[in-house]
């Protein structure tokens, strides 16, 4: 590899490997774990120091379902969304792209769930931008080699419009409206919507609590054979 277009060469991919073990501040927990947890992590017995070995450790290929070519293509497409000054390799890996740019990608433009996808994969505190690693996560889940398990997990999160961990009637109603569109002739009437949601809950809500949780969702999805092939985005 290492053609003229790709700037994430093998060495750069290898940069993502562990160079020894990081100190507490550099612990790659990122901003996600709370400070208390970071303290806890800092207080743990550290694994023995290892000398940096470029060949050891992992690369993006082991953390995602994407092949090397796909990662490089993703990096290229991601850099096209960045302003000129941020397009160097180091800054592109730390840059955050606001949602408007991501939503202008042709693969996502026509998708009724595009905002939800961006929100689910975003790790920024304000949840308004995606980093390159978030972008890779997105592509990894939507690649065709991803397991149905992880796809259904993320599908659940995407369909959970109010982020409360379950699909209640509101979520289902918004989901159906996204699917059928807002046109006059395609919208379901209120009675049809109620009937549809009643049917869905009757079929999938095993514990009869009025909402669908993750395991019920995964159970229902497993009965649909073409879920994995339709839950796919390829650059």
């Amino acid at each position: 590899m290492g053609g003229s277009g790709s700037r994430l060469s093998k060495e750069l991919l290898a940069e993502y490997q562990v160079r020894g073990t990081p100190g507490p501040r550099e612990l790659a927990c990122g901003p996600l774990l709370g400070s208390r947890v970071r303290e806890l992590a800092a207080g743990r017995p550290r694994p023995p120091q290892r000398s940096a070995n470029p060949r050891s450790g992992f690369a993006f290929q082991d953390l995602t379902f994407l092949t090397k070519q796909e990662i490089l293509l993703a990096h290229r497409r991601f850099c096209e969304l960045l302003p000129q000054e941020q397009r160097s390799v180091e800054s592109s890996l730390r840059a955050q792209v606001p949602f408007e740019q991501i939503l202008s990608l042709p693969e996502l433009k026509a998708n009724p769930f595009k905002e939800r996808i961006c929100r689910v994969f975003s790790t920024s505190p304000a949840k308004d931008s995606l980093s390159f690693e978030d972008f890779l996560d997105l592509l990894s889940v939507f690649s065709d080699t991803a397991t149905p398990d992880i796809k259904s997990h993320y599908a659940f999160r995407i369909f959970d419009f109010d982020d409360d961990g379950t699909l209640n009637r509101e979520d289902l109603s918004r989901l159906v409206n996204c699917l059928t569109g807002e046109g006059e002739d395609t919208r379901l009437s209120a009675s049809e919507m109620k009937q549809l949601i009643d049917n869905i809950l009757e079929e999938s809500d095993i514990d009869r609590d009025g909402t669908i949780n993750l395991s019920e969702f995964q159970h229902v999805i497993s009965r649909s054979p073409d879920f994995a092939s339709s839950f796919k985005i390829v650059l």
Partner: protein
């Protein structure tokens, strides 16, 4: 995401601390066998987990990566091959668009049209390869000038009064006179007398219509069987669950806005049809017996009414034909000659409208409406076609009339020198007329209607609306066209070519009409049972075409001075002659035996045996399905029995002030999740902490992770699917 929410110091006793949760979670993730890439966490967290798992930094084996790549490549090749096989079908893109925007019901009309095109092309291929190519290749010598027959015709052969004759080139093309001496019609085929060593064009010409009809019969039957309504066999509960459809129906690969619109329409139609069927099913189940009887009676009433109308229409046509024949000498003959076609056209115009109106009054499910209207329209149309061929038979072959002019040669020699050509011309004219009518309706009725309705906005125009695309009427048109083609196979062997061209053009005309000038039906119907009914009416047409063909081929004398069968008493007589010429005696005896009664009775008995075996196998399968359903019910009951037992065994929870609803106790073993809101993937951990009451903190442990405690009483809320439901 690994998100502990709040680290509030006052914590209700029994609730695990975040760090304990984190510990437990990390232990679980470290020990679990799922590869890191399959964990639903962000990249940074996956890296952390990877570090915890493999601090030594084990390198992924190269061959594992290679194997993954190989599997991916294989799968992609397979998918590409499937896509190619689907895409090779004609008009796939247009059919997808039509199906998406207007529903599978209307799409089934276009699929049927494509099927008919295929049948016509196959018939053409058969005829061309067995008759035309050898004829052109072998160039058999012309048998010489025709016999000079002495005719004793009543009166002189003057042109019939009132029949207009144009000498226009276009008129000749439209009536077929321009092609009289080409291979389009029967008359142009000439060969010498039969001999055993040469390829027998006569036999090929005789057998190719029969072979075409047989091929079309088998193809139609096969398609009909595929479309057999399966619902009655399997029952309502064995379709794909609606919830799975809702969750997996969006195709995330769609990039183009138009494709997205089409997909949204498709999804909306699908949901509406499903919901409508569900509502009907509910209504039907709630019907009392009196209501069911009432429903059946109304069904019977509609059918009887329409049947009577059809009988009335047929007798009107019959009477009109008879009247015009009987009063041939009247001065108004010009008008009377056009009475039968006029009555036929009127009947075929009013009939479908009337039937549609009557059936729509009854408020049947959309599928039943379409199928019922279709069957009656087709019966009417085929009856008119039947009357047409009977009247042809009367004039040309003196069937059912006084046989004075037909006595000498078996057909009306005075008026028709080459009667097969005349019949071929009539059928050719009918075929062209049908197509021109389709085109005229599309461009002279539907298009102006759309233009006027769109332009003006009065109450009348709002009421008139764009034309609705009526599937029964359109299917009727192409079935009638196909029946005419089949009727004409013997007289006009290249009629399938003509029909193929017409069908090809009809597809684009109808597609244009549908997409631009029509409105969607307010009651979309499913394609599943339509497939069956379309093939059924096609079979009716095929039977109607096969009967006159069989009669003519076996009993009617061919023309004396044109065509292939001039010296035979009936075209079928070629076969015995060739058998006597060509086959050795033992072959002749074998064939003779095959055609005799001594063979057909044992064959019949054998076929009855096979049929009995098939029927009993079907019944055994139905019994097996019933038994399997019962087993499923028992298994589900066993499962819930175990759930109850488990909930009885687990310790009872304390006074719970959890606002959440109760859950089955089987999920109590799931640890209170470290990631509230998103139950962590994987199975519950090895230690099942005591389920404690929840506290909804102000700072925010959010809604309880499902899987908390539940009382045994909750198990009783669960519905055992009863045997009656399945």
């Amino acid at each position: 995401m690994l998100l502990p929410r709040s680290v509030s110091s006052e914590r209700a006793p029994g609730v695990p601390e975040p760090e304990e949760l984190w510990e437990a979670e990390m232990e679980r993730l470290r020990g679990s066998g799922t590869p890191v890439r399959g964990l639903p966490y962000a990249m940074m967290d996956k890296r952390l987990i990877w570090q915890l798992r493999e601090p030594a930094g084990v390198q992924t084996l190269r061959w594992q990566r290679w194997q993954r790549r190989r599997q991916t490549v294989e799968r992609r090749l397979r998918e590409a091959a499937q896509r190619l096989a689907r895409g090779l079908g004609l008009w796939e893109g247009a059919l997808y668009e039509i199906g998406g925007l207007f529903g599978t019901g209307i799409r089934s009309y276009f699929t049927f049209l494509r099927f008919l095109l295929l049948l016509n092309l196959l018939s053409l291929l058969l005829t061309a390869s067995f008759v035309l190519l050898p004829l052109v290749w072998l160039r058999p010598p012309d048998p010489g000038p025709t016999l000079n027959l002495t005719l004793q015709c009543p009166g002189s052969r003057q042109s019939q009064p009132g029949v207009l004759r144009f000498h226009n080139q276009l008129w000749h093309v439209l009536t077929g006179r321009a092609f009289t001496n080409t291979y389009l019609f029967y008359g142009a085929y000439r060969v010498g007398p039969e001999s055993s060593s040469v390829y027998s064009i006569r036999l090929a010409y005789l057998l190719s219509p029969l072979a075409c009809l047989l091929l079309c019969f088998c193809g139609t039957l096969r398609r009909m069987v595929k479309g057999l309504p399966q619902k009655t066999l399997l029952g309502q509960g064995y379709q794909a669950p609606l919830s799975a459809k809702v969750f997996s129906s969006w195709d995330f690969c769609i990039r183009v806005q138009e494709a997205a619109t089409i997909k949204k329409h498709e999804i909306s139609n699908e949901f509406k049809v499903e919901l409508e069927e569900g509502r009907r099913f509910q209504l039907m189940q709630q019907q009392t017996r009196a209501q069911t009887a009432c429903h059946l009676l109304s069904y019977l009433r509609v059918n009887i009414l329409i049947g009577l109308l059809v009988v009335g229409a047929i007798s009107a046509i019959f009477w009109a034909t008879k009247y015009s024949q009987d009063n041939k000498e009247e001065s108004l003959f010009l008008l009377l000659q056009y009475l039968p076609p006029g009555v036929i056209a009127l009947v075929n115009f009013l009939g479908p409208l009337l039937f549609t109106f009557l059936v729509q009054l009854e408020n049947y499910p959309p599928n039943t409406e379409v199928n019922l209207t279709l069957i009656w329209c087709v019966v009417l149309k085929l009856a008119s076609l039947g009357m047409f061929s009977v009247s042809l038979g009367q004039t040309i072959l003196c069937i059912g009339r006084d046989k004075s002019s037909c006595e000498s040669y078996g057909y009306n020699v005075c008026d028709y020198q080459c009667w097969e050509n005349s019949v071929g011309e009539e059928l050719y004219k009918l075929s062209i007329f049908n197509f021109l009518l389709t085109v005229a309706f599309a461009f002279l009725v539907t298009l102006p209607r759309r233009l006027l309705v769109d332009r003006f906005s009065g109450r009348f125009w709002a009421w008139l609306e764009r034309e609705e695309f009526l599937v029964p009427k359109n299917v009727l048109d192409i079935v009638a066209g196909q029946t005419v083609t089949w009727m004409g196979l013997f007289y006009c062997p290249l009629l399938p070519l003509l029909n193929s061209v017409f069908l090809f053009l009809t597809f684009y005309i109808k597609k244009y009409t549908l997409l631009k000038n029509s409105r969607a039906s307010s009651r979309p119907f499913r394609a599943s049972s339509s497939t069956f009914f379309f093939q059924l009416v096609l079979l009716l047409g095929l039977l109607l075409a096969a009967v006159p063909l069989g009669y003519v081929v076996s009993s009617i004398h061919s023309s004396w001075n044109c065509g292939l069968f001039t010296n035979y008493s009936a075209p079928w007589q070629v076969v015995p002659e060739l058998v006597a010429l060509g086959l050795p005696p033992i072959g002749q005896r074998a064939l003779h035996y095959l055609g005799s009664h001594a063979f057909s009775f044992p064959l019949l008995i054998l076929l009855s045996l096979v049929l009995t075996v098939c029927i009993s196998q079907t019944q055994a399968n139905a019994r097996a399905i019933h038994r399997l359903r019962k087993q499923l019910v028992w298994q589900v009951q066993e499962k819930w029995h175990l759930v109850e037992d488990l909930s009885r065994l687990l310790p009872e929870p304390g006074p719970s002030d959890s606002p959440g609803p109760k859950y089955p106790a089987s999920q109590a073993s799931r640890p209170q999740s470290f990631c509230p809101g998103f139950p962590c993937p994987g199975s519950p951990g090895p230690q099942a902490p005591r389920p404690g009451p929840f506290v909804v903190d102000a700072a925010g442990l959010r809604s309880p992770c499902p899987g908390q405690h539940g009382a045994p009483a909750s198990a009783r809320r669960f519905r055992f699917p009863s045997g009656a439901e399945l």
